[in-house]
Amino acid sequence: MKKITLGLVAIAVSFVILIFYYGLKTEKIYNTEELVGKSILEIDLKLLNENRVFNTRELTNNDFTLINFWASWCGPCRKEHKHLVYLSKNKNIKILGINLKDERSQANKFIKKMGNPYYLIASDHDGKKSIHFGVYGIPETILINKDLTIIKKYIGPIDGQDVKKILSLVSE
C-alpha cells in the first residue's frame, strides 16, 4: 500500500512539473495563425471622401487585396507607408485602406503628404468595424484573395521582408 501511495505521489508531482514546463514554454502572445484560411466578413464600410457605402463583397473583383488599417495619429503607420506605396505599384494587388478612429481632415493631410497607395479609403470612425476583421491595434494588414480568404495577416508595421513575402504570394 505504501509503495502504491508513493508511486501515485510521484506520478502527480511529475504531472505538475510537466504542466508547468509546458505552460512556461508555450508562447502566450496573441498570434493570427488561426485566422489564416478563414474568410473576412462581408460588411458595409463608409468611404472616407465619398458619400457612399462600400461592401467588402466587392473585393471579389480583385485578384488580391491588401486591407490596411491605419490612422494619421499612428507613428508606425508612417513608418510602413513607403512600403505600401511601393506595393501599390504592383498590378496584381489592390490596397484598401481603412482609416481608424481618425479625423477626416487629418487623414487627408497624411495622404497628401505621404502619398496615396490606396485604391479606396474607408472610414471606421468608432473602431467597431475593425473588430469584424479581428484587428486589435494599428497598423494591421490583411492579405486576402479573390474568395475573400485570409492568406496572411500582419500585426504591426510591414517591412521590406514582408513586402517581398507579399509580392511572392501575389505572383504565385
Partner: protein
C-alpha cells in the same frame, strides 16, 4: 456525524448564495469577464480601460441589442481573434484533456479517500 451535517449545511448555504450572485450579475459584465484583453497583461475586457477593451464592450452591447446570445457572441469573437480571446475555451479535440482532468482527479481522489477511510475504519474496529 454532527460535524458532517454542519459541513453539508454550510456548503449548501455557500452554493445557494453563490448561485444567487451569479443570476444577479449583469449579462454584459459576465461576457466582458470571459473575454481576454489582447493588448493588456493578464486583464479581462471587464477590467481594462484600453482602447481595444472599450471597443469590444461597444461591439458586445451592439450584438446583444441585435439579439445575439452569449454563446453566439463568443463564437463571433473567437472567429475573429481565435479561442485565445476566451478565458473559458470551448470543448474541442485539443482541449479534451483540459476539461476532463479536473473530473478525473476528482474521481481518483474520491477512490483514494474511499480506500483510505476503509483502511482506517478497519484498523479502528480491531
Amino acid at each position: 456525524m454532527k460535524n458532517i451535517k454542519i459541513f453539508i449545511f454550510i456548503f449548501a448555504i455557500y452554493n445557494f448564495s453563490y448561485l444567487n450572485l451569479l443570476s444577479e450579475e449583469n449579462l454584459n459584465n459576465r461576457i466582458y469577464k470571459n473575454l481576454r484583453c489582447l493588448v493588456c497583461q493578464g486583464q479581462s475586457v471587464a477590467d481594462s480601460n484600453s482602447d481595444f477593451a472599450q471597443t469590444i464592450k461597444i461591439v458586445v452591447n451592439d450584438k446583444l441589442k441585435e439579439g445575439m446570445n452569449e454563446e453566439q457572441i463568443y463564437n463571433f469573437l473567437a472567429e475573429k481573434y481565435g479561442d485565445w480571446i476566451l478565458y473559458k475555451p470551448p470543448l474541442k479535440s485539443k482541449s479534451y484533456l483540459l476539461w476532463m482532468l479536473p473530473y478525473m482527479f476528482f474521481i481518483l481522489g474520491a477512490i483514494a479517500l474511499f480506500f483510505l477511510l476503509k483502511k482506517t475504519l478497519k484498523h479502528k474496529r480491531y
